[in-house]
Symmetry: none
Subunit: 401 residues, 2 copies
Amino acid sequence: MIDLEQISMLSHTSASKIVFLVIDGLGGLPQPETGKTELESARKPNLDKLARHSVCGLTIPISSGITAGSTPGHLALFGYDPVKYSVGRGIVEALGIDIQLEHDDIAARGNFCTVDSNEVIIDRRAGRISTEENIELCKMLNKIVIDGVEITVYPVKEHRFVLILRGNGLKSDLKDSDPQQVGLCPKKIEPLSTDAGETAKLVNEFVAQARGKLQKERHANMVLLRGFSQHPNIPGMQDIYKLKPCAIAIYPMYRGLARMLGMRVLDAGNNIAEETEQLLNCYKDYDFFFIHFKNTDSRGEDGDFDAKMQAIEELDAVIPNILKLDPDVFIVAGDHSTPATLAMHSWHPVPFMLNSKWCRPDNVTEFSEPACATGGLGCFPAVDIMPLAMANALKLNKFGA
Amino acid sequence: MIDLEQISMLSHTSASKIVFLVIDGLGGLPQPETGKTELESARKPNLDKLARHSVCGLTIPISSGITAGSTPGHLALFGYDPVKYSVGRGIVEALGIDIQLEHDDIAARGNFCTVDSNEVIIDRRAGRISTEENIELCKMLNKIVIDGVEITVYPVKEHRFVLILRGNGLKSDLKDSDPQQVGLCPKKIEPLSTDAGETAKLVNEFVAQARGKLQKERHANMVLLRGFSQHPNIPGMQDIYKLKPCAIAIYPMYRGLARMLGMRVLDAGNNIAEETEQLLNCYKDYDFFFIHFKNTDSRGEDGDFDAKMQAIEELDAVIPNILKLDPDVFIVAGDHSTPATLAMHSWHPVPFMLNSKWCRPDNVTEFSEPACATGGLGCFPAVDIMPLAMANALKLNKFGA
């Protein structure tokens, strides 16, 4: 198997440009009444036309039968084996609110919770306090000062927050304090290696001070921490592919992930039309453009078949504007399927097409799940997309003599 | 790559049920006169109808071009990489006669053979003595008593037997005594590690005593031993998939293999109609049902195209009875191909279909090799079947956040 190190030895820069459009949760399932998926049901003349001049296929995000979360799904799209390169829960949460992490920072997912007078957890979510209350509580926790570490608490939604520790020699191999059930006390943070002993002490001191500051609160009188993790050691896309990559994504999680992979994260406006506008504006400055479209996934998770169909139509309308740029390689892919009938991420392979002067078109005449299943690329792993993109951009040297 | 440990972390129990029908030696090759395979030639309205509502594909049992034996073929079907999890020859023979092994037991494949007065082998199969004679000889060998080990000899067919050693600290890394050719003497059993020295002594003692007891026989006056092996350390399907699995199989080898993987082995009657009856009877008690149909393989090995076709038709007739149960996931697969034109196992990919509420049907309208080649799953490794089964049964959690 070719790995990223080998890809990096074969990669070289060139003037050619790759536009990589990710339609989040793209794949679907048939509506029982019509027997057609969201993609088959949508009116999408531009995507269909493009399919006729592209090579098509279905991508497997991680492995057959495995449903991808957003992070592993996107890692695979950018060529990173999501089983090898895993991103810890705390880091995922931090990316999700677009915190700019430094390399040794430790991130943990936090919950405000409720404990009784015996320190026993009676509500792991503190009655799902409002985000406004959360913001006020985080302000209190940000007053905590501990020698040797810089502590920042970022509010997320409702009872959730992210804790970031910054300092020298911090280690993230720590057990959760969250016992994941009521009726138990929050656990002391324990180190999983001797190296992490000092960090465990610092975190326990944070928890003790937090308890002190919160003890008069009615609901949110304690904190639970889990998923301690550090920035994974992932090589950047500039290093691997010798690209100058940028990301045009509205949602924080995808912006954070793109930044972690070395992409320049640009202003994306508020909708796909504004994202496309940004693409036109910055087209001369980069040679790889990740454009992220979220609405298909969101409407799929809502279980709203028609709304997901409309999101596809909304996306279809901007395709001609992208094609005006005549990119050397134009890819339309998805990170995973989100069928409206299931109302969640799923394991089903994801429609894919690649258009370039050098692709070998197949007999596919529309962009849909059954049509792509008969495409020239067959059913293939999503981690193969980037090598295909690079090859079609003529940015990969021959392997061996 | 996702491995079994990761699958086990994602798996959870639920009320949904998986019926997994294995048609042994399912795949075929075209009859030169008609250009159609056994499956294309058979009248099988129920399988064809099911294909129209399923997702189809072709499975690769082990690796492209590799012909699977029955054991690795079935290991792959149940998600066990047959290259990683190998089952020794002696154990395969023991499973083949449904011996209930304990964990440290050593099994070896035995032949009765003929040696001359110089102890030189002149017939490795002792003139293919009758099974009846074999049974009598095994009774004699079972009178052998050796301190520190319990010895049992089980007759198989004609000149074949299985030797089982039971005792503490036995080691199976032993060389064969069978030189695999005539004109040589049977070899002393040699240990392949220092640990196995004691076991080698015990086996050599067994061989010496066997020679003594057999020396007056006309044909079968000596034994040859090979394939010393112990129960492989294979995690059970309950542990990996959190299933409550059962097996409905008539042939001993498949029953033994199923037991080794943690399945409850049920009475299967004498034909596929009786196997189906058992399925109906036990349906409430399990959540995974392996049903094995052997005739397709047997008739394929006979080189009898028409008989294999008829076996498919016999199988087709019970499909409606299975479908009455409305299983959450119904899989029809094969462990390998056995084309009647070749009259042996072959490397050709095997037709596959999966039916569930959550499968994404494709445009396949019949269950055959060429139709399945255009299916939504494409050509894929057989070890991916179980993750797909688990996903469609909604028994697998999402990978990553």
